[in-house]
């Protein structure tokens, strides 16, 4: 239904006008229904469903081999699904791959570059491959190089660029035809901390430009501050989808508390186990970690109770829960289910 609509919008671009714009805005940028992909007896994807709205930055997380790259390859028209439907901007990836390619900028987890090209030639080549006239490319490429901080390397051979620079150049390549959707598979893998920060800053700028971005990573803290939504995939199935706060609230872990005591650790553990909202205790050399489901007032009660019992408390603090905690909690649950 929406695919037909999208085709009509595209074919009658001139007459579509404002209605088409409204319809297009209502179409999700990515729509996946029952997507499955098998390689022989191995089922890489087992029927996933996903919708990603326009302008959303979607963090696709999961352990290695969970199915992230397979999903992204299907969206990039590089792999045929075994079953199900995947649409980009209303276009089915199997039926209208040419239209899909116009709309996506794809950066795979592993990619090569043409070493004998200069950075500027590299971008010209891809620009021309997307049918951008030379005059337009001449104006566009300096802007792209500036966006990815490679202006001073415009005439450097790609061979001479560092790994981080090559990653940024590849990102500029993704943007050369001004796609609405960026599919970035582990864009920060193998980068040193400095290069990761640079990559993250560029992605923030792209978010401000209104691009829809689907970005996979197994280094979760990198994504935490920039994603609107996350999807956790494991063993080819979507385990959780939503914004980070929603997912956190759906999980029993609301906050993690950390208590350091001078002594009587075992007694304190016994006491804490009996307290309300304490879901789990984790003991280490430095004290006791608590997965706590209560709110601020409950937390204050817990502290008063501990002090009332005469425990000598060195510190009582709340640890920041981040994507990593969420991910570990979800995937741990998944593993337990199996």
């Amino acid at each position: 239904m929406s695919e037909e609509k999208a085709t009509i919008v595209y074919e009658n671009e001139a007459e579509s006008g404002a209605n088409a714009a409204v319809e297009a805005a209502a179409t999700p940028m990515i729509e996946i229904r029952g997507l499955a992909r098998s390689f022989g007896n191995f089922h890489a994807l087992k029927g996933i469903d996903l919708k990603i709205g326009r302008g959303t930055v979607f963090g696709f997380v999961g352990p290695n081999g969970a199915g992230k790259s397979t999903t992204m390859s299907i969206l990039a028209t590089l792999l045929a699904p075994s079953a199900g439907v995947a649409k980009v901007d209303g276009f089915d990836v199997t039926k209208h791959p040419h239209e899909v390619r116009k709309r996506i900028g794809y950066m795979p987890d592993f990619f090569g570059v043409y070493d004998q090209f200069k950075a500027v030639e590299y971008l010209h080549f891809y620009g021309a491959s997307y049918g951008i006239p030379k005059a337009e490319r001449e104006a566009l490429i300096p802007q792209l190089l500036e966006l990815v901080n490679l202006t001073d390397k415009r005439d450097a051979y790609v061979d001479s660029l560092s790994r981080g620079m090559k990653q940024r150049l590849c990102l500029a390549r993704c943007l050369v035809h001004d796609p609405d959707l960026l599919i970035l598979d582990e864009p920060a893998s193998g980068l040193d901390p400095r290069a990761r920060i640079e990559m993250r800053e560029i992605l923030k700028e792209l978010k401000l430009m209104g691009k829809t971005i689907i970005i996979s990573s197994h280094i979760l803290p990198e994504l935490a501050e920039m994603v609107d939504e996350i999807g956790v995939i494991e063993h080819g199935q979507m385990v959780a989808v939503g914004n980070v706060a929603d997912i956190q609230s759906r999980l029993r872990v609301k906050r993690i508390l950390h208590i350091r005591l001078l002594d009587r650790l075992e007694e304190a553990e016994s006491y804490l186990e009996e307290q309300p909202f304490v879901n789990k205790l984790l003991r280490d050399d430095r004290g006791i970690g608590i997965h706590y489901g209560g709110d601020d007032s409950d937390q204050a009660e817990l502290l008063s109770g501990l002090m009332g019992q005469g425990f000598r408390i060195v510190s009582f603090s709340e640890a920041q829960t981040n994507l990593e905690d969420v991910f570990l909690e979800i995937t741990r649950g998944g593993a337990a289910d199996e």
Binding site: F39, A76, T77, L78, L79, A80, P81, S82, A83, V93, T94, K95, P97, H98, R101, K102, I104, Y106, P108, F110, F111, G112, V113, Y114, Q116, F117, E121, F125, Y126, A128, S129, Y130, G131, K134, C170, R173, H177
Partner: protein
């Protein structure tokens, strides 16, 4: 005024019409590596060495100070033409059997496949760029051939025909190379497969021809088949051999011999070869080359509609 100027430029912008981005990239990158220069150098060196050796030997046989015999010049031309055919057979698979698998191994293919370039553009541009380089090399050998003209015995028409045949051979072997490069993931396997097909074309068809001819001759001698039974069909086997085809350009009578015309006077053997060996060769391998390119184009990208794509 400006618009007219721009329109005028667009109208005559043949370069953008003929040279697509992939072809442009292939041309640039191929000539930026020293490998291109060394390939050209060693090719010319090998052919030059062979020619000079052949001239030295032929002169030696004629006796010192003897005038060069045009008949010997012809033999030298045959020798050079066959040597060049051998070099093309050696070079074409090497230059084409890695064009797609090489991109796959360098992990640049997926990036190329997500652009707006069609599979046909990518495959044919790769083939054309490799062919262009081979043409450059083969045409660079023209001065070596000019030595023949010093002594006579070879017509310019023959020379042109031989070069047309070379071009055809490059297209055929190049198409097989591109096909294997598309179908097979590893360049090494693709190169071996292409050389395998080349070897079959050169040696396999020749061996098959001689074996079949011998079998049929013996059958006739033993009376297994009647003396009037025609087995001129064995000529079709040698028509698939590049050396046989090239030789039929140099010496047209070879086609009749291959089809055993006039071998047994007065019997039911056909009166003439159905066609020259080189003509049959070009028809059969022309079709195969088109098929190879079609297969390569079809298999470059996963078949999304059939949902049988491969990883």
């Amino acid at each position: 005024m400006n618009e007219h100027a721009v329109a005028g430029r667009d109208k005559f912008n043949w370069r953008s019409k003929l040279i697509n981005p992939v072809l442009d990239k292939e041309f640039r990158l191929r000539m930026r590596t020293p490998r291109a220069m060394w390939t050209l150098f060693f090719y010319l060196f090998a052919l030059g060495l062979m020619s000079l050796s052949a001239i030295y030997l032929t002169q030696g046989m004629s006796g010192r100070g003897a005038a060069f015999n045009p008949e010997q010049s012809k033999i030298l031309f045959y020798f050079l033409s066959m040597a060049q055919l051998g070099l093309i057979a050696f070079m074409a698979p090497g230059l084409t059997a890695g064009v797609i698998s090489g991109e796959r191994e360098k992990q640049t293919l997926n990036l190329l496949l997500t652009t707006q370039q069609s599979s046909a553009t990518i495959v044919l541009s790769k083939l054309v760029s490799s062919l262009s380089f081979m043409i450059l090399i083969v045409f660079a050998t023209v001065p070596v051939y000019s030595m023949m003209f010093l002594y006579g015995g070879v017509s310019p028409k023959q020379l042109v025909l031989v070069f047309v045949f070379y071009l055809f051979m490059m297209i055929v072997l190049g198409s097989f190379g591109v096909l294997f490069s598309t179908l097979l993931k590893r360049t090494m396997i693709s190169v071996i497969s292409t050389y395998g097909v080349t070897l079959f074309m050169f040696a396999g068809t020749a061996i098959l021809f001689f074996v079949m001819q011998s079998v049929m001759d013996q059958a006739r001698a033993a009376g297994t088949i009647s003396a009037t039974t025609s087995y001129s069909w064995v000529g079709h086997i040698i028509a698939l051999n590049p050396v046989g085809a090239l030789y039929s350009i140099l010496d047209p009578s070879i086609s009749d011999q291959a089809f055993m015309v006039n071998r047994w006077s007065g019997n039911t053997q056909p009166k003439g070869a159905p066609m020259a060996l080189w003509q049959e060769f070009m028809i059969v391998f022309g079709v195969l080359a088109i098929f190879a390119n079609w297969m390569a184009i079809r298999n470059l990208r996963p078949r999304l509609r059939g949902r049988t794509g491969r990883k």
